[in-house]
Amino acid sequence: MKKITTVLLTMAVSLAAATSAAAPTGRKSSPRTINRSAPAAAAATARSAANTPANQLTQALALVRQGNCLQASPMLYSLSRRPEFATERMQIKYILGSCLMGLKLNQISAFQFVDVVRRGDSKYVRQSLEKLSIAADQLGDDTLLNYAISKVRVDEFPNDQKDIVYFRLGEIKLKNNEAPAAAQLFAQVPPNSRYHAAALYKRGLSDLESNHVSEAIKSFNELLASRNGAPVTDPTRVQALIALARSYYQAQDWEKSLEYYREIPRDSELWHDSVFESTWANLRAAKFRSTLGLLQTIHSSFYEDYYVPESLLVRSIVYLYICKFEETEKTLNLFEKTYQPAADSIGRFVETIRDPNYYFAEIEKAYSIRREKKPITGLKLPYMIARQVLEEGDVKRAFSYIRALNEERLRLESYGPIARSPLGVYALKVLANRYKNTKITIGEMARAHLIALKTDIRELFEQASFIRYETINGQKESLKKKIAEKEVETQIDDQIDRTFYVQNGYEYWPFDGEYWIDELGNYHYLGKQSCK
C-alpha cells in the first residue's frame, strides 16, 4: 500500500504539470465564451473541462487513494489506452494491476503487471514482478510469472527483494533438469523470505537430483526444525518428514528411512504414499513380514480406485522370497487381471483420440466424480487411471487454476461498475481465453500422462513375467528338494485355499475380508516362510 501511495504521489506531481499546461487554454477562452445569458453553455464547457483526460486521471487517482478501486479501475483501464498517456502508461497499468489485485481479480491484474515487465523500460518492473508473484501464487499459475522472471536481470533488483527472483529462477532451472544450478539459486533465498521454506524443500530436491544426499538431508532437517511447534499434520512438516524418509532411502539407510516414514501422520494426505514407499524400504531391509502387513493396507478395498500396480509386484516378490509360490501366482494373476484391461483401455483411448478437448472432458468427469463424490459412471477410461492423471502435479495445478479462473469470473460479474465497463468486456474475454487455453493444456498433459502410464504398465508387465519365471524356478527347486528327501511332507503350500492362508496368517482379530478404516496401517502378517 505504501508503494502504491508513493506511485500515486509521483503521478500526481507529473499530472499537475499536464493539467497546468491544459489550464491556460481554458482560462483564455472562458471570458469570451461564457456570459450570463448562456449558463447551459457554461455548464457544458465546465463539464467538458472536467472530462479532460488529465482530470479523469486525477479523479481516478483520487478514487484509488480513497480505496475505491471498483470505480477507479474502469477509468484507469480507459486511460491506459489513451495515446496522451503513452509515457505514463506503465504507471497507470501498475496502479490498475494493484487495484485489480485488491479486488481479487488476480488474472486480470497479472496481465497488467506482465505488460509492465514486458515493456521493461519502467521503474515499475520490480514492483510489478513482486505483485505478479503474489497473483501467480493466488492463481496457482506460474507460467506468466516464469515468463516475466526470465525477462529480468537479478542485479537490477534491490537486495532485499531478490528472494523471489532467486526462487523462481531456481524453479525454472530445476524444471530444466539443471539441479546443481537450481540448488545454488535456492540457497540464496534468505531465511526471512516468505519463499524460504519452499526454497529449502526445493533445494533438498535439487540436491537429491544431483545425488548430494547429505546436503539434501541437511536442508530437509532445517525445514523440519523450522516447523517446530507446528501441528503434526502441518503440510510443510509432513513434506519435510517424507523428504527425509526418501533421502535416507536414496542413501540406502533403510532403518532411518523407515523411522521417518513411520512419523508421517495417518490423517495427512501423504500417508498413503508413505505406506507404499515404506514397503520398498521394508523389502530392502529384508523385513518381509512388515512389508506384507503394509501391503495388506495398500491392497484393501479402500484403495481400489488407486493406481498402484507396483505394489502388487512388490507383494509377489515378497511371496517369492518366502517361497509362498501359490500366493505369488495369485498376486501376479491379480496384477494382470487389474492392469491388463487398464492398459488396453489407455491404448485404445490414445490411439483413437487426438483432440485435447476430449481428454480434458474425460479428466474433468473424473474430477467431478472425485470432488462431488458421484457414482463412478460415464468414463471411457478406468476411473483408477483417470484419477491417477488427476493426481499428477501439473494437472492438479492446472485444475486449481481453472477453479481460480471460474471464481474470478464470478467475482468480476458481481462487480457491477467493472462488469459493465470496457474493462469488464476485456476481462471476461481474457478469462474466457485463459480458460480455453488451459483446457487444451490439460488435455495435452492428460494425453502425455496416459502415454507414460501405458509405457509404465508395459514395463511392469515385463517385470511380472520375470517374477513368474522365478516362481516356476522356485517351485522346481522346491520339488527337487522334496524328491531328494524321498518323503513328501504335508506343506503349508499344499493347501491351495486362500482363506487357509488368510486365517493362518492373522490372529487376534482374524482378517475375514472386511476392511475397516481404523485398521488401515495396523495389519500384521504373522505367517511364516515356507522355504526349506
Partner: protein, 247 residues
C-alpha cells in the same frame, strides 16, 4: 436387571464364538513394537466410508427370525409372548420388518391374585375376577429399522462378532378376544452376528397402545358382557430376545 441380562448375553456370545470360531492362531510371532499402532486418527479418503467389503451384507436381503418377549409393565395379562420377525432390507441402512407376537394365555398372577384377594378382604370390590376379562391374543407390528451403527467386537480375543445397532419405529395392532386396537412403538435393537447370516437379536421398545381396561365396573354384578369393557391407553415396556437369519 440390566447387569443380569448383559451377563447372560456375554456368556451366550462367548460360548457361540468358541464353538463357531475354530481358527485360533497357529503361529505366535512377535510383532516389532515400533510397528504397532501409535495413532488413533484415521487416514483421509475422498469417500469417507468406515468399512469396505462388509462381512455382513444386509442390502436386498430378507430377514426372518423368532423371539421370546416380555412386557415388563403389564400388570394383568401374561407378560410373556413368543413370535417371529420377517422383513426386507432395502439398503444397508434401512429395513422394514413385520413383527408378530403371540401373547401367552393366563394372567400375571404376581399382581392379579393380590389385587383380587385385597379387594375381597376389604370388601371394596368382591366381584373382581380378572379371569373373566377378554384374553389378549396377538400383536402385529410393522417396524422401520434404521441400521445406524455397524461394528464389530472382539470376543475373548479369539473371535469377532459383528453387530448392528438400530432404532425401531413402527405402527401395529393388538388383538384381544373381542376387539383389535391400534398402537405405536419405538425403541432400540441390537444384533450380534455369529456368522454372516445368523445373529442374536435383542430389541427394547416402548409400546403405546389402546387396549381393554380390565377394571371394568360392570363385572361386579356377575359375568360381564365381554363387549362392555371400556378402552384405555397404556405404555408397555417390551424386551424381545431372539435369533435372526439373513436369507
Amino acid at each position: 436387571m440390566k447387569k443380569w441380562i448383559f451377563s447372560i448375553l456375554m456368556a451366550m456370545i462367548s460360548s457361540f464364538m468358541v464353538t463357531i470360531s475354530p481358527e485360533i492362531a497357529k503361529a505366535q510371532v512377535e510383532v516389532p513394537e515400533e510397528e504397532l499402532a501409535r495413532e488413533s486418527v484415521l487416514p483421509r479418503f475422498e469417500r469417507g466410508e468406515a468399512v469396505k467389503n462388509r462381512a455382513i451384507v444386509t442390502e436386498k436381503k430378507v430377514e426372518i427370525g423368532a423371539f421370546g418377549g416380555w412386557n415388563f409393565t403389564e400388570p394383568i395379562y401374561s407378560q410373556a409372548k413368543i413370535g417371529f420377525n420377517a422383513g426386507y432390507h432395502f439398503t444397508e441402512e434401512s429395513a422394514l420388518m413385520l413383527n408378530f407376537g403371540l401373547w401367552l394365555p393366563g394372567r400375571n398372577k404376581q399382581y392379579t391374585d393380590a389385587i383380587q384377594s385385597q379387594t375381597k378382604a376389604n370388601n371394596t370390590d368382591p366381584g373382581l375376577d380378572f379371569n373373566l376379562i377378554p384374553d389378549l391374543q396377538y400383536s402385529l407390528w410393522a417396524n422401520w429399522e434404521l441400521l445406524a451403527y455397524y461394528g464389530k467386537m472382539s470376543v475373548t480375543k479369539q473371535g469377532v462378532s459383528h453387530m448392528h445397532l438400530y432404532p425401531i419405529l413402527g405402527l401395529g395392532m393388538t388383538k384381544y378376544a373381542t376387539k383389535m386396537y391400534p398402537g405405536l412403538n419405538f425403541g432400540l435393537g441390537q444384533k450380534f452376528y455369529f456368522s454372516k447370516a445368523f445373529a442374536l437379536r435383542i430389541d427394547f421398545k416402548l409400546q403405546y397402545q389402546q387396549g381393554i381396561n380390565p377394571f371394568n365396573p360392570g363385572f361386579r354384578t356377575g359375568v360381564p358382557d365381554p363387549n362392555s369393557y371400556s378402552d384405555r391407553f397404556t405404555l408397555g415396556t417390551i424386551l424381545e430376545l431372539g435369533v435372526s437369519f439373513l436369507l
